[in-house]
Symmetry: none
Subunit: 263 residues, 2 copies
């Protein structure tokens, strides 16, 4: 499992240009995605950005600062909040932490410490909910559920083994794209594919078989000769129209019809 150093998404709410410049530099070299905001934004917007943590200087908001802090910590308990303010007293820091901030560091401060504290806060937050963030993935009639390590068609399990599931998950995630064998092997097996290794082909066959069993009438895995494989739900019925993408409503081959609700 190569979960370790995942790139964080961080929002910075501050207008101290010097501080921002050096901080964004550090975040860049750490490979983090970041967004700088000169002023407070509505909490909804922070949600939409899907950030793991937010660094905020309460100074930019004046008296609103406290209530803003309270709002985002109350609304988004999973968000890491690091307050980074100039010349705050002990009682101010205590107040901020009590309200829900995860950490507080006074300026002037070393950017490396800010980075380390963001990491720490994000690490702590992530321990909370490791899995529930990933919603089920739907392609054609297939539903891939990471929390179950399984895929389903109309509620019926495909009985995939671990490797089979991981392969299907990778394919489903990159729906529509052609993946070369080397890429697939690298991402599912975790290391480079030896020359002449046929494991990918064999597992593709196993997957095809199980997909066909539970969802006949669709072809999911398409071979691109000399290149690799592409995953896409296509009707294999000669007379039926092509795709089964979301939104396409048509008569099902069997007696059961599957409607996919949202993206």
């Amino acid at each position: 499992m190569s979960q370790g150093r995942e790139s964080l998404r961080v929002a910075v709410i501050d207008n101290d240009s010097g501080f921002i410049r050096v901080l964004t530099n550090r975040m860049d070299s750490a490979g983090w995605q970041h967004r700088v905001l000169a002023t407070a934004v509505p909490p909804q917007e922070l949600v939409a950005m899907k950030v793991n943590a937010v660094v905020v200087d309460l100074g930019v908001m004046g008296d609103e600062g406290w209530s803003y802090l309270e709002r985002i910590t109350g609304l988004m308990p999973d968000l890491g909040v690091l307050v980074c303010a100039s010349g705050a007293t002990v009682s101010q820091r205590v107040r901020g932490l009590r309200i829900g901030a995860d950490d507080w560091i006074n300026k002037p401060c070393h950017p490396e410490e800010v980075i380390a504290r963001i990491e720490s806060v994000a690490r702590r937050r992530r321990r909370l909910k490791p899995s529930s963030t990933v919603g089920p993935l739907v392609v054609g009639e297939i539903e891939v559920r990471a929390d179950q390590f399984q895929a389903f068609v109309a509620g019926q399990s495909l009985d995939l083994t671990r490797r089979e599931f991981e392969l299907l998950q990778l394919l489903a995630e990159s729906e529509g794209n052609v993946l070369e064998r080397e890429t697939i092997y690298q991402r599912v097996w975790g290391y480079a594919m030896a020359h002449g290794d046929r494991s990918v082909d064999v597992f593709i066959r196993k997957l095809r078989h199980k997909l066909e069993k539970r969802s006949p009438g669709f072809a999911y895995i398409h071979t691109h000769f000399g290149v690799g494989y592409r995953f896409a739900a296509e009707s294999s019925m000669p007379s039926a129209p092509a795709v089964a993408e979301e939104g396409s409503d048509r008569a099902a081959p069997q007696s059961t019809e599957v409607l996919s609700a949202s993206v």
Copy 2:
């Protein structure tokens, strides 16, 4: 506004008597349970104390400090760790945070701020609490009662031991989801699972046995080879009608609407 201020359990590893006196005073008035240790104790002992957080002065351990810190953060990812040391440099603080400390505050510091930071570090507990406050948990024929540390079928106790109950409770709470052994061990035993440890398997067997005794005709614990276990009440009778749950059939997806168009 701090509602369910359940008393935290905190261990303090330090020998600075003045600091300790004033800190324990504050913890007492906050209603926390605490234990002061003049020297480092084996991580297992911290596990046994079931503390939510530990405050540690790396000074008391000399060079061992770093490795000790590394050990406890590695072994107990859920433990809040607040380092509280005298005159640490930025790079030392960064190193500590990187190793896994949740926070670092330099002495001399105001005890109220230490209290607030401990709270902040331990705040993740809030999430799990509400589940225990709600009524007993029912899955299939099984009723799990957290207030009694027992589970029942038709009013009959399963005679679970403490560990058995905790394991069953965890499984029942995450009904339908596959839990990996490492996760189970981490959440029931409280620290990281050693490689090759079979305790989870053994207790799963014990649970299965007791569940089978009191509730035959149902299969509750399902093995996912190479992954872990999933808890769900499924009728083991071939012809018998299904579950006493809201979903009428097997592990069913929630995000997909299945419409049967049969005549």
